[in-house]
């Protein structure tokens, strides 16, 4: 079966981020989306630790460890960017000022519930960071994840079995096999990788899917 690579997934998400958008990219795979934002589009990247207008990683040896991103990696500030304290940063996130937030996930439900902070395993030390604020605060929350676990189980589910991060907060799910809209009306398929049929996708996912009209990238 055809599968999108991580870079192809990142490029696919980047296509849907329009000029002028205020965007937070979560730790891990979503960070890669920044590499595929077209240079001719002005997009504002926000980092939860207190910067807006985040630029790429500095050259080796040029790191300033007081200029980092949420993953604690050294970054740069674009000309015109700015710094602020944590309460202001989370006001941007929780207050609905960000247009798009892109997060990784363990599971997403067809109604848009998100589980991405805790496996719930006994003995695991829980850590939540900004995940719950990000999930519910942005105008649109996108998820990027592999559609299936290593055991072949769908991560798009009827009801999340992992502990929840937020209820009904995800609007779109980008996976290596298909792109879905999720929400109160259930899950709809926007795109599938070449060679994958709707019936086969339906069999893999196991929850009812609708066929959506393909969304036009902004």
């Amino acid at each position: 079966m055809n599968r999108m690579t991580r870079d192809q997934m990142a490029a696919r998400v980047a296509r849907d981020i329009p000029e002028g958008a205020y965007v937070n990219l979560g730790i891990g795979l979503p960070t890669k989306v920044a590499d595929y934002l077209p240079a001719d589009r002005e997009i504002f990247l926000q980092s939860e630790n207190g910067l807006l207008g985040m630029g790429p990683a500095p050259a080796l040896g040029e790191e300033d460890w007081e200029l980092i991103n949420a993953g604690k990696q050294a970054v740069t500030l674009l000309t015109g960017g700015c710094y602020f304290h944590h309460a202001d940063s989370f006001a941007m996130m929780r207050g609905g000022h960000l247009d798009i937030c892109v997060l990784g996930a363990f599971q997403v439900s067809v109604a848009g519930d998100l589980a991405n902070w805790h496996t719930g395993e006994p003995g695991a030390i829980p850590a939540v960071g900004g995940a719950m604020d990000l999930a519910i605060g942005a105008k649109q929350t996108f998820v990027m994840m592999d559609l299936l676990t290593k055991q072949g189980e769908s991560k798009l589910v009827e009801t999340c079995t992992y502990p929840l991060t937020g209820l009904g907060c995800v609007s779109r799910v980008y996976t290596d096999l298909a792109v879905f809209d999720v929400g109160p009306g259930g899950a709809g398929v926007i795109e599938m990788v070449e060679g994958l049929g709707f019936g086969e996708l339906q069999r893999l996912v196991g929850v009812p899917l609708a066929r959506s009209t393909p969304a036009v990238a902004a």
Binding site: E63, I68, H85, H86, A87, R94, I125, A127, L164, G166
Partner: protein
């Protein structure tokens, strides 16, 4: 003459006693007041409640305080990291209590304390494990969780420059929790890279007004440059 500048880090933290609650600024190591924490370790105060975003990185600062067994409880959002081994060990051994708070709620609760609010209603965490047992309320059609302010006896923070009245500016993302912790603690102790004369900070650009600061101590910038996480 009002002069909040103290001579050294030892004098700055000399009244932090056993059982104190202490906010410590920093996101990872950016903005962590390492020299103030080192002085606190040397003072041997224990049974502390620490409020920080994390629970220590590597061997320095908060990680060292935990390693030395001085911390009874940590209130934070993200304890588990690749280099949080001292917290992990203490937690698994049942030697340290953890109150896990979503990061934005942590910031809002600290800010609420500084602003004199009795509580806040926040949508963050509604319907999750971290809101279990908490009062909720529907406001404008959206569900919210009641969360209480986080106060502290002391705040230890790091700023870029300060003056003798306690006005502060910060440097880049080292600002993070500094301004809100300064507001929330009874006694705020700041290590700065440089002390400037009154008027040396542009009044339009002061980030923390001196009313929120009780003590300022200079720590040479060369010593306090944050290291890679």
């Amino acid at each position: 003459m009002i002069d909040k500048v103290v001579t050294d880090v030892e004098a700055a933290i000399a009244d932090i006693c056993d059982g104190a609650s202490v906010m410590i600024g920093g996101f990872g190591t950016a903005g962590m007041p390492v020299e103030l924490i080192d002085a606190l370790i040397a003072r041997a105060a224990g049974d502390l409640t620490i409020i920080n975003n994390n629970a220590g990185n590597g061997e320095q600062g908060l990680a060292a305080l935990i390693r030395e067994g001085r911390v009874r409880k940590v209130i934070c959002s993200f304890p588990r990291q690749s280099d949080s081994h001292h917290f992990d060990a203490a937690y698994r051994a049942g030697q340290i209590e953890l109150e896990l708070v979503p990061q934005g709620n942590l910031a809002a609760r600290i800010q609420a304390a500084g602003a004199g609010l009795g509580a806040i209603y926040t949508p963050t965490g509604y319907g999750t494990l971290l809101a279990e047992g908490k009062e909720t309320r529907e406001i404008n059609g959206e569900q919210h969780v009641l969360e209480y302010p986080i106060h502290a006896d002391f705040a230890l923070i790091k700023a870029h420059k300060g003056d003798r009245w306690g006005n502060l500016v910060y440097r880049k993302t080292a600002r993070n929790f500094g301004p809100i912790m300064a507001m929330a603690a009874k006694t705020t102790i700041v290590q700065v890279g440089e002390i400037v004369p009154l008027g040396g900070l542009d009044p339009e650009s002061v980030v923390t007004p001196g009313i929120f600061v009780q003590r300022v101590v200079r720590v040479a910038a060369a010593l306090s440059v944050a290291h890679a996480a």
